[in-house]
Symmetry: D2
Subunit: 145 residues, 4 copies
């Protein structure tokens, strides 16, 4: 993974990501980090499906939410944490293919709240990419102890 974040911030995000056992459960990996941006990539595992055999909305949501959260964390002072206040997801197409790629970005970093957006794309079997979900929400910074 390439990143343009300060090494200490990138390292803190990586350490936080590893502690998210749900991300490991999903086989997710941090694949991009820049100030206000984060990309997470995951396969659509047989253990994360809904009733039609596509990825569950909970998988898509979890990847988008985490990407948005780390996008927000990347612009906060070292030692900060963030929590999701609220998040809205519109599902655009079924979650099927070889992998899901969630891209989070900061829309506005406020003193008390950070507004974020995430897009989730599916990498189809034929190599094409289709946007499958759009998320918009709010993160709350938890200052360093």
């Amino acid at each position: 993974m390439t990143t343009t974040l300060p090494p200490a911030v990138a390292e803190a995000i990586r350490a936080s990501f590893v502690r998210q056992t749900l991300m490991q459960n999903f086989g997710a990996q941090l694949t991009g980090l820049a100030p206000g941006h984060c990309e997470i990539t995951a396969p659509i595992l047989p253990t994360a499906l809904q009733q039609h055999g596509h990825g569950h909305a909970g998988l898509t949501f979890a990847l988008g939410d985490s990407a948005a959260g780390y996008a927000a964390l990347g612009i906060l002072p070292e030692g900060s944490e963030v929590m999701t206040v609220e998040m809205k997801i519109n599902l655009l197409a079924p979650a099927r293919g070889k992998a899901l790629i969630a891209t989070g970005k900061v829309i506005r970093a406020g003193r008390r709240l950070t507004v974020v957006q995430a897009s989730v794309a599916a990498l189809r079997e034929d190599g094409s990419t289709v946007e499958i979900a759009l998320l918009q929400g709010t993160m709350i910074p938890v200052p360093p102890a």
Copy 2:
């Protein structure tokens, strides 16, 4: 599980739930079904956590979304399916305790769309129950083939 749904509808929901491998991944169980209502209960497994060791927002969302979807499915003609159009979650408190209980209900069943709501509560270690999330969204019925 007790249910007041017609047996064929309840059976179809149970069969659909079993096909949701993410629900099995989370150890989730259908614990209540009534017309326009659905309850899903799940432990907070060590494989579904966020970075502070609480349940991940993706876990909470997935349980709420599935409960809302099956609440909607329970009032549709036999053989129908539903898909999530969009869903919004407000997180109220950390997802910690012995179990999460998601309760979905139908707010308005329209001809083309069904508006749903779900609440997720955590059963704390001391036996108390705390509401940890509130979801509001839209399901789209997929008519029987």
Copy 3:
């Protein structure tokens, strides 16, 4: 209007409501106040319609948002203010009839944020009442100066 709020808090809300010129524009009135609850009633004026002659979604939203905000304000220390962080509305039925009645309530009052809900009902010409919208959102308290 009857209210069970402390008189100073009720008075502050009434004064704030009067300063909301959009509420006057809509002919809206505060018709109920209790701790964590607020009701606003408004006619559907010829100056607040969408293209089919029903009340505009912006009217419905404004009434629900204001009711939710004053529900939140009613449980804060005297001299506080609130601002809307985010709000989501699901429209359930057309806004037509003699009046709209928006009911806001506090779902969870936190130290930093307050989660709110509002329902908007239409009083039809025949005297029946139909729920036309459901809102869920977040208010942020602004402490007394």
Copy 4:
């Protein structure tokens, strides 16, 4: 206003906009139309304020919602209509300045539903522009009679 829409579609949108009396109430004007895009500009009138003298969230919402709706309408067959299913708004900064400019766009046009986004910017007194709100929602096409 310049537009790249087919003249009949642009004309239908203009005619629909004129029927939205709330837009006239707000002094709003259609200032841009292209396939899947719509821009609406409005002053912040003294009759559309909240309690601090800024534009009411209901004003910002109404402009964003209408811009999103007409963005969706511009790509539908002539004679169609659209209605808002649901809309979520995150407020980013106070609605103050000389005017608000709402820009709606289509994210995904489906057979049954259209997902839309809108951004609302304030033109400040000093000529700068600040994004004050971001909306994400769903429109439902109503086919020609």
